[in-house]
Amino acid sequence: MSLLEFLQTYGSLIVSGTWVTVIQFLLAVVVAILAALTAGLGKLSKNVLIRGVAITYIEIFRGTSLLVQLFWLFYVLPLFGITLDKFTAGFLSVGLNIGSYGAEIVRGSIQAVPRGQYEAAYALSMSPARRMRRIILPQALVLMLPPWGNLLIELLKGTALVALISVADLMFQTRQINASTFLSAQAFGTALIIYYILARFLITPFMRWLERVMARRLGRA
């Protein structure tokens, strides 16, 4: 079967799978950003308890496999009385996993903002919260955008694993097609190309654009 025929027959399945992958990606991005900001700021906190929680979260999620986390959230968490449907368990575990890597980026870039900026904000008697929000975070944001670009590609790749708890994403649909037709090269090849297009021609250019916009807003372009 030629690739064209293949796409005509299974195109709709692949498109619906891609759509699920995109939604999983977007929801996981939201989770990852929230988790990274919370844990990154938490790790810089003076409060031992907050710092401890943040470090524990970061080390656990960075120290184990995403796939193990995914299975744990989906199969073990219900025993603690928290039942997540597969769709939620999917983006939540991908988001939390990437968020733990993101937390280190957030922490690193906040610490990379020059000392003088803190002192100037202090001299203007800004409250710590206001200083963080108005002075430190905007500058840290510009620093952290390039590593976040790479991390978002990792996140997209991570979403492929949700197929293993049967979320009907691109990976899942491709496996189904492969199982019923044995057209492995066409099925997996098409999926590889779609992931590549999403990563290289959507996510990367978007992040570049965001970097430019943010740099301009800080008057650094």
């Binding site: 120290g63 184990t64 496999s65 193990v68 590609i153 991570g158 492995s184 590889l192």
Partner: protein, 222 residues
């Protein structure tokens, strides 16, 4: 199923999980060995004067880096038989994971090679060294120390990615935990133990990588 941690069950399955941990470590080690060598090939291929080769390798590396490893594992495992090449799960898994990480390692090497000062190249040329000697004796020894941190991180990374091999039936840690779970209808202990084993290996490993890097830097007087 309800939540009650069963210690007896835990100790019953622990030996099986630890045996599988050995498989996981072997898989990570083999995959890494492939990646270390192939990564260097990718990195050096991007420095040849042949434009078409440089361009092709660059695109291949980008492609491998931006697509999911689990999909690549399926691809290698299932596409072979379509063309009459049957690969065992282990072989297919090692090819896929080795190839995936060689793309990452080539970027690490590339960064290391580019960090070698231009004067070193010029000095080699002035001493009339061959390209081979320039790389082997001057450039690569200097490119390695700054690459060690990245290489170490990917060693831990490859270890954490080995559970994906379970999808094609490589009997590593997660695969064994799945089997135990479905035999006994208990997932709490196996999955939690897998998580703990991963933490128990990857956290000290990450610490060791940092120590090793510091030591190499000190030895080289950096």
């Amino acid at each position: 199923m309800r939540f009650d941690w069963d210690w007896e069950f835990t100790f019953e399955i622990l030996p099986r999980l630890l045996a599988a941990t050995v498989n996981t470590l072997i898989a990570a080690g083999l995959g890494y060995a492939i990646a270390v060598v192939l990564g260097l090939v990718f990195a050096l291929a991007q420095r040849t004067p042949v434009r078409s080769l440089t361009f092709t390798v660059r695109e291949v590396v980008e492609f491998i880096r931006s697509t999911p490893l689990v999909l690549q594992i399926f691809f290698v495992f299932y596409v072979g038989p379509q063309f009459g090449v049957r690969l065992s799960p282990w072989t297919a898994g090692m090819i896929a994971i080795g190839l995936h990480y060689s793309a990452y390692l080539s970027e690490v090497y590339r960064g290391g090679i580019e960090a070698v000062p231009k004067g070193q190249w010029e000095a080699c040329r002035a001493l009339n060294m061959s390209t081979r000697d320039t790389y082997l004796r001057i450039v690569i020894p200097q490119a390695l120390p700054p690459s060690i941190a990245g290489m170490g991180n990917y060693l831990v990374g490859i270890f954490k990615d080995t559970p994906m091999l379970s999808v094609i039936g490589v009997a590593e840690l997660l695969h064994t935990a799945n089997a135990i779970g479905s035999e006994n209808y208990r997932f709490l202990e196996p999955y939690t133990l897998v998580g703990i084993i991963f933490l128990a290996i990857s956290l000290p490993a990450a610490g060791f990588v940092r120590l090793f890097e510091a030591r190499v830097r000190r030895k080289l007087g950096l």
